[in-house]
């Protein structure tokens, strides 16, 4: 039942990402990206292969429905999904990681989970900005876009983590 609610919230956030990607075009420097944090919150029990499939489908739906470049979000999100466990190992010690059944804000603390979300978002943004620029934009612009987007998306990640982990835990 908890998983059902999780995936319902996940779909709602996916729709939110589609809406944000399609409508939020007031500046080229900021690219809203909820997907990395959403993938981070996917239960660990699901396993990496399924997480990769979820990431691919999520990225595809966002690109398709938001009218963006098809495959752009998928290409950037898949490496972040693959690196999820490695980032978790970096942010948490080995003992905690080995005993970790699932991500829990209450048990692990919001700060560490957000730092992990930042790593995933940063990796996603590096690839996204690089591919989206396709060698046509200056390096400084790409750097600015990466920094602004990463910082802003970490703030969005708080909302995502709160919705997918904290709210779910309360129920």
């Amino acid at each position: 039942m908890r998983n059902g609610k999780f995936y319902l919230i996940y779909v709602i956030l996916l729709v939110a990402q589609i809406v944000l990607s399609g409508l939020l075009d007031f500046t080229q420097l900021f690219t809203p990206a909820l997907l990395p944090a959403m993938i981070l919150c996917v239960p660990l029990a699901v396993g990496t292969p399924v997480t990769l499939v979820i990431a691919f489908v999520s990225g595809f739906l966002v690109d398709f429905f938001s009218g963006g470049v098809l495959g752009l979000s998928c290409t950037a999100l898949l490496p972040a999904a693959l690196m999820k466990n490695i980032f978790l190992r970096i942010c948490f010690d080995n003992d905690t990681y080995s005993r970790m059944n699932d991500l829990s804000v209450k048990k692990l603390g919001l700060g560490r989970i957000l730092s992990c979300a930042f790593m995933m978002t940063a990796l996603f943004m590096v690839i996204y900005v690089w591919i989206d620029g396709a060698g046509t934009r200056p390096f400084l612009f790409n750097l600015g876009r990466f920094l602004v987007s990463s910082a802003a998306n970490v703030l969005l990640s708080i909302v995502v983590v709160d919705l997918l982990l904290t709210q779910n835990e309360r129920r």
């Binding site: 396993g47 990496t48 292969p49 990769l52 499939v53 990431a55 691919f56 990225g59 595809f60 470049v69 098809l70 495959g71 752009l72 998928c74 290409t75 898949l78 490496p79 999904a81 693959l82 591919i131 396709a134 060698g135 046509t136």
Partner: protein
């Protein structure tokens, strides 16, 4: 990492690669800009990969290349040595041809393989024999003078007496058109000779060049052989002149054998 962990890692990697390829394929089909960029990127990666693999292959084949280069270097050095020898022989022959005696004499370049300079009867051996057209009574010369006369000839080698022999005499001339007199070794020095039997009424000056006279069956004319020095009266009837030879016998290596084509004919006529 357990066996199941490794299997899971391999499966994850395979799924990741498959999905990433699918994503990149979608990307390249949906946008011209990204398509061009990806093409350019793939070309760069391919070029770097090929360049890298070529560098690695080259590195591992360096030893073989070095061996081949060393062998080539050796062969080239041999060739250069052969050409240098040939060139010096040609230059010597050309110098002698320019003397204008090529109608009477034929010339063969040779190398001295053995030579003595420390006795009263010195000899030499050269690396050319009758197979090379050398005959007995041929003269041996250099561009700096007279070396000796061939006495015996074998198939590949010839034996002769050097000018540093008390019983060898060469017909020489002081100056281009001066006094002709027999010249022989002084018996003491490797670079000294004497012009003998000069009539007392003929004056000579020190510093004149001494040339072969051409009045000899063995040596072509006009080869510079030495420089005149002091003259002295001998027994009140003739005078003799000291000559400093131009040819240093101690540093002799390459010579030219001058064979008189008409020597037999002239000998028969003389008899």
């Amino acid at each position: 990492m357990g066996r199941s962990g490794k299997t899971s890692l391999i499966i994850s990697a395979a799924i990741f690669i498959f999905l990433e390829i699918a994503a990149v394929a979608m990307l390249s089909r949906s946008s011209v800009l990204q398509d061009i960029w990806l093409n350019r990127l793939s070309h760069r990666v391919m070029a770097a990969t090929w360049g890298g693999s070529e560098k690695v292959r080259n590195y591992f084949s360096l030893e073989k290349s070095n061996e081949a280069l060393a062998q080539q270097n050796f062969e080239l050095s041999q060739k250069v040595r052969r050409y240098e020898t040939l060139l010096s022989e040609m230059e010597r022959s050309a110098a002698l041809d320019s003397l204008g005696a090529k109608d009477v004499f034929s010339y063969t370049a040779a190398r001295i393989v053995q030579m003595t300079t420390n006795s009263q009867h010195n000899y030499f051996v050269i690396d050319k024999g009758y197979q090379d057209g050398i005959g007995a009574n041929s003269g041996v010369i250099t561009e700096n003078g007279v070396v000796g006369i061939i006495d015996a000839v074998d198939k590949h080698f010839s034996y002769g007496r050097t000018f540093m022999n008390s019983n060898i005499s060469v017909s020489a001339r002081i100056g281009r058109n001066g006094i002709v007199a027999p010249m022989s070794w002084d018996g003491l020095h490797s670079d000294r000779a004497k012009l003998k039997d000069i009539s007392v009424h003929l004056d000579t000056e020190a510093g004149d060049t001494v040339w072969t006279s051409g009045m000899s069956l063995f040596f072509p004319p006009d080869i510079p052989v030495g420089i005149t020095g002091k003259s002295r009266l001998v027994f009140g009837s003739t005078s003799e002149v000291d000559v400093t030879l131009l040819q240093d016998f101690s540093a002799l290596k390459y010579v030219t054998v001058a064979t008189n084509r008409h020597i037999e004919e002239i000998k028969e006529l003389a008899e």
